[in-house]
């Protein structure tokens, strides 16, 4: 039996440079980054991508106090996606809704906060919060969204390091095709800027970006790149089977065309371009396409010296010189690395290209690293193109997990 066609019918997001798809997209086309300085416990002022959405739009003050930042981001994105989808939420069967949220990690923030808290009480654990466990369980962001929305179907997170945002969509498509749910809220979230441990960890790896101008700090492919800018954020989508979306006359952003997930099995942190290329190839094959059919490749590149070069090697191996209609960009140059939200957010920023035929650029490339000089790289200025029928989104993560997701223009 032919698998069901899966379509994107709603988008809700918060990024460091926008808290709606319209605002985010406008800033991507205008070259507006969203990086600022933030005080990080024990580390002082650091560069970070901070989201400025109104948590109280969809939560009570008490929910914000009791819950986590990741939970707030998930709730905001889920509610915004549902509003965008045009679904009559009151009429939706809540037991047929699945929530699948990718996370790089969860629980660091809350654990660090509690250790800091009891440090003020001579490390006496009787001052440890009774909220610690519900805040730190790995399913927290999805669970908070289910509480807020009254969703009684499956709601859980998918841990896949920085490949997780794509994984939320991949898993949702699979669950819809299996008939496990009729509507999926899916994507990724991150609260990583609230844990000093991630900043300190990248700094110890010599992989934390520094720059006098925060807006210039995240610079994938530039010779002077010097590491990652850590960001928070989220993007959740409503995914539905095409038959259901058609029946209710839904607006369609695009169709899930193909995907692939694989593992490097080679190193804890170093990427593996051979496995990355295999992942991209496999996704293209699954979509029934060839590399030259891909019109936008959104790279994962995080602005580490080696990681960018290795991803470019993988992309070169797949797309080579024979893909004149393939345009390559990067979103982290604006918003830093939104970790578990990265793949989902970066896809969202490119979806409007189906309508406006403009490819947003990679900014902050003043001196292109020759080792990153891919054909089709869109640098610093948006590019109007003749055709955008396919978007390929790469997201890779530590312990060697790779995910590639392809979305195509929807044609009934």
């Amino acid at each position: 039996m032919k698998p069901s066609r899966i379509v994107i019918t709603g988008v809700g997001l918060t990024a460091p440079n926008g808290s709606s798809l319209a605002e985010f997209r406008a800033n991507l086309l205008a070259g507006v980054a969203g990086i600022e300085r933030k005080e990080i416990r024990y580390m002082g002022s650091q560069l970070a991508g901070v989201c400025h959405f109104d948590a109280l739009k969809h939560q009570k003050k008490k929910e914000v106090r009791v819950g986590t930042r990741a939970g707030s981001i998930a709730i905001y994105c889920a509610r915004e996606a549902l509003a965008d989808s045009g679904l009559n939420w009151d009429a939706v069967a809540k037991d047929r809704v699945g929530i699948y949220i990718g996370c790089t990690e969860h629980g660091n923030v809350e654990t660090e906060n509690e250790i800091y808290n009891i440090s003020k009480f001579n490390y006496d654990t009787k001052f440890w919060s009774h909220y610690h466990n519900p805040r730190t369980v790995a399913n927290n962001p999805a669970g908070e969204a289910s509480l807020n929305l009254g969703v009684t179907g499956p709601a859980y997170t998918i841990g896949a390091a920085c490949a997780a945002g794509n994984m939320g969509l991949v898993h949702a498509a699979q669950m819809l095709r299996l008939g496990e749910v009729d509507l999926a809220l899916c994507g990724g979230v991150s609260e990583s800027i609230h844990t000093f441990g991630i900043f300190a960890g990248f700094k110890s790896q010599n992989a934390l970006a520094t720059h006098d101008d925060p807006l210039k700090a995240s610079r994938p492919f530039d010779k002077a790149r010097n590491g990652i800018v850590i960001s928070e954020g989220g993007a959740l989508y409503t995914l539905e089977r095409w038959d259901d979306a058609r029946a209710r006359g839904a607006k369609i952003y695009g169709e899930i065309a193909g995907y692939h997930v694989n593992s490097d099995a080679s190193d804890y942190v170093l990427p593996n371009p051979t496995r990355q290329a295999e992942c991209v190839h496999a996704a293209i094959r699954r979509a029934g396409l060839t590399p030259s059919d891909i019109h936008i490749v959104n790279t994962h590149a995080t602005a580490t010296t080696l990681g960018d070069i290795q991803e470019c090697e993988a992309i070169r191996a797949v797309f080579g010189e024979g893909c004149p209609d393939t345009h390559i960009n990067n979103t982290k140059s604006y918003i830093g690395h939104c970790m578990g939200a990265a793949g989902a957010l970066e896809l969202a920023g490119n979806l409007p290209s189906f309508d406006d035929l403009v490819v947003h650029p990679t900014i902050n490339v003043d001196d292109l690293d020759p080792l990153c000089a891919l054909p089709g790289l869109v640098l610093n200025h948006p590019r109007k193109v003749a055709k955008v029928d396919t978007i390929l989104n790469n997201s890779f993560g530590m312990l060697g997990i790779n995910s590639t997701l392809i979305v195509k223009r929807f044609v009934p």
């Binding site: 009570k60 003050k61 008490k62 009791v66 009480f121 009787k126 009774h130 909220y131």
Partner: protein, 87 residues
């Protein structure tokens, strides 16, 4: 400490743990849970904040004493006075 001052201490804590609630008309004789959106985790918050802010310990067997503002004042005022006597 007077009982009214003790009630004010408890209300200040509730204002922080239940920030959406209007505390202007809390009836001291009525159970807090019957007039405010408070669940069992919120009561643990009250216990924790009494411990953190005031050094007051409320053993689990005494939790029912925190049911209303009046019962809070009856139960907690002697504890505050005992602490004040120590210092």
């Amino acid at each position: 400490m007077t009982k009214d001052e003790c009630k004010k201490v408890v209300l200040d804590i509730i204002a922080d743990i239940a920030p959406d609630e209007d505390l202007g008309n809390v009836k001291p004789e009525v159970r807090l849970r019957d007039q405010l959106q408070l669940d069992s985790m919120d009561f643990l918050d009250i216990v924790m904040e009494l411990r953190k802010r005031h050094g007051i310990e409320v053993p689990e067997k005494d939790y029912p004493q925190l049911a209303s503002l009046d019962s809070c004042a009856e139960y907690l005022t002697p504890k505050f006075d005992a602490l004040a006597g120590k210092s």
